[in-house]
Subunit: 223 residues, 2 copies
């Protein structure tokens, strides 16, 4: 763990492959993880799956989304885009004063390879707008192949981190490092459109090349 | 040259490092290049510079922007963003029915690391809107370090190609290949915001890492 204190992380919509992938990596790194779901049973089942995958003693439990958001210091949103707005309004009271990491990509079927942003400019800006200025929204992990994240394989994709608050971006960069990935500060929340939209481009590239895990890597820097 | 026929390419605003870099690479590949500038003298001087750099017999000449646009089959726009709209309105009659490659990045000082798009959604969409539907606008080369392009060094940055017309994107992918770079079809013109905005993120990364040529590379595909 690279952050100064052990942290509790809630992962809402954590029963999907994105949520379980992040839960797996952070549990391995020593964080306490609360997986949230609409039904407690599903959350518990996902938590048990993650514990089984890690194969050593870790702190992972499953509860209903609101309870997860209430109990954690850091709240990660990994819900499908169609539930994004609804979930934000639902958890708004629970996340005031907290850090919210938004992983959401605005994919709008049927044209999933075409960039289609909400009126706010991006999913992250939508989150910031709904949650209000007392919440520090940071966007990250949108371009990652979650199968590789969960399996523990190397993920050959950098994580671009955007958000209004520089200190919050730095904290999330530590969390990225703890998943085993390489993160970069990609600037203010207005830049989220680039990272979210890149996922649509990568879906198109996946189709063209017959692969399922294309990603991006920043070149010309020393790591 | 990978395209089926020898093509004449006009590079408007071609006296800057972007324009000269592209002129150098395409002249080397055997294309006929017309460098355009607001003043004929500057255009001629840039053409002579490119010929000198190539060091073998190539077809490069310099003329005023309108004449360049009129004479060429493919028109490349490498003007600063502050001249983008004005230049598009100026050349509109000359480029009807042609392919226009827009290299423009909407960088708005002083916040050059913050994504700031025009009302149309991106510079490429602005170009398409101004030039009209008889012009095939394709956006490309926005993330490249032009110093490396001109010096003939390896450019470790992929080129994402966007535009409404798939055939036009394919043609531009051939032109990218002829510069020695690796290009990818990044989908419709609405996706241009991602590629243009990425330049603001890369400028921020350049500052953080103390480098001047960070770029992007698509991972997880076979080349």
């Amino acid at each position: 763990m690279t952050t100064s204190n052990p942290k509790t992380i809630a992962i809402l919509g954590g029963t999907g492959k994105e949520g379980k992938g992040l839960a797996y990596r952070w549990a391995l790194a020593g964080y306490t993880i609360i997986i949230g779901s609409r039904t407690t049973d599903k959350a518990i089942s996902a938590a048990e799956e993650v514990i089984g995958l890690v194969g050593k003693k870790v702190h992972v439990k499953g509860v209903e989304n609101t309870i997860a958001a209430r109990e954690a210091e850091i709240v990660v949103l990994t819900v499908p885009y169609s539930f994004h707005r609804e979930m934000l309004e639902f958890i708004r009271p629970e996340v005031q004063g907290k850090l919210v990491i938004d992983v959401t990509v605005p994919i709008v079927p049927p044209k999933v390879t075409k960039v289609q942003m909400p009126p706010e400019g991006s999913a992250a800006q939508q989150a910031q707008s709904i949650l209000g200025e007392n919440v520090k929204v940071v966007a990250a992990f949108q371009n990652i192949s979650y199968e590789n994240l969960l399996s523990g394989e190397t993920v050959d994709c950098d994580v671009l981190v955007t958000g209004t608050d520089k200190e919050a971006r730095t904290l999330v960069l530590d969390l990225v490092k703890d998943t085993g990935l390489f993160g970069l500060d990609a600037g203010p929340i207005e830049n989220s459109v680039v990272v979210e939209g890149m996922t649509s481009i990568l879906i198109g590239i996946n189709k063209q090349f017959g692969v399922h895990a294309s990603g991006i890597r920043i070149t010309g820097i020393s790591r």
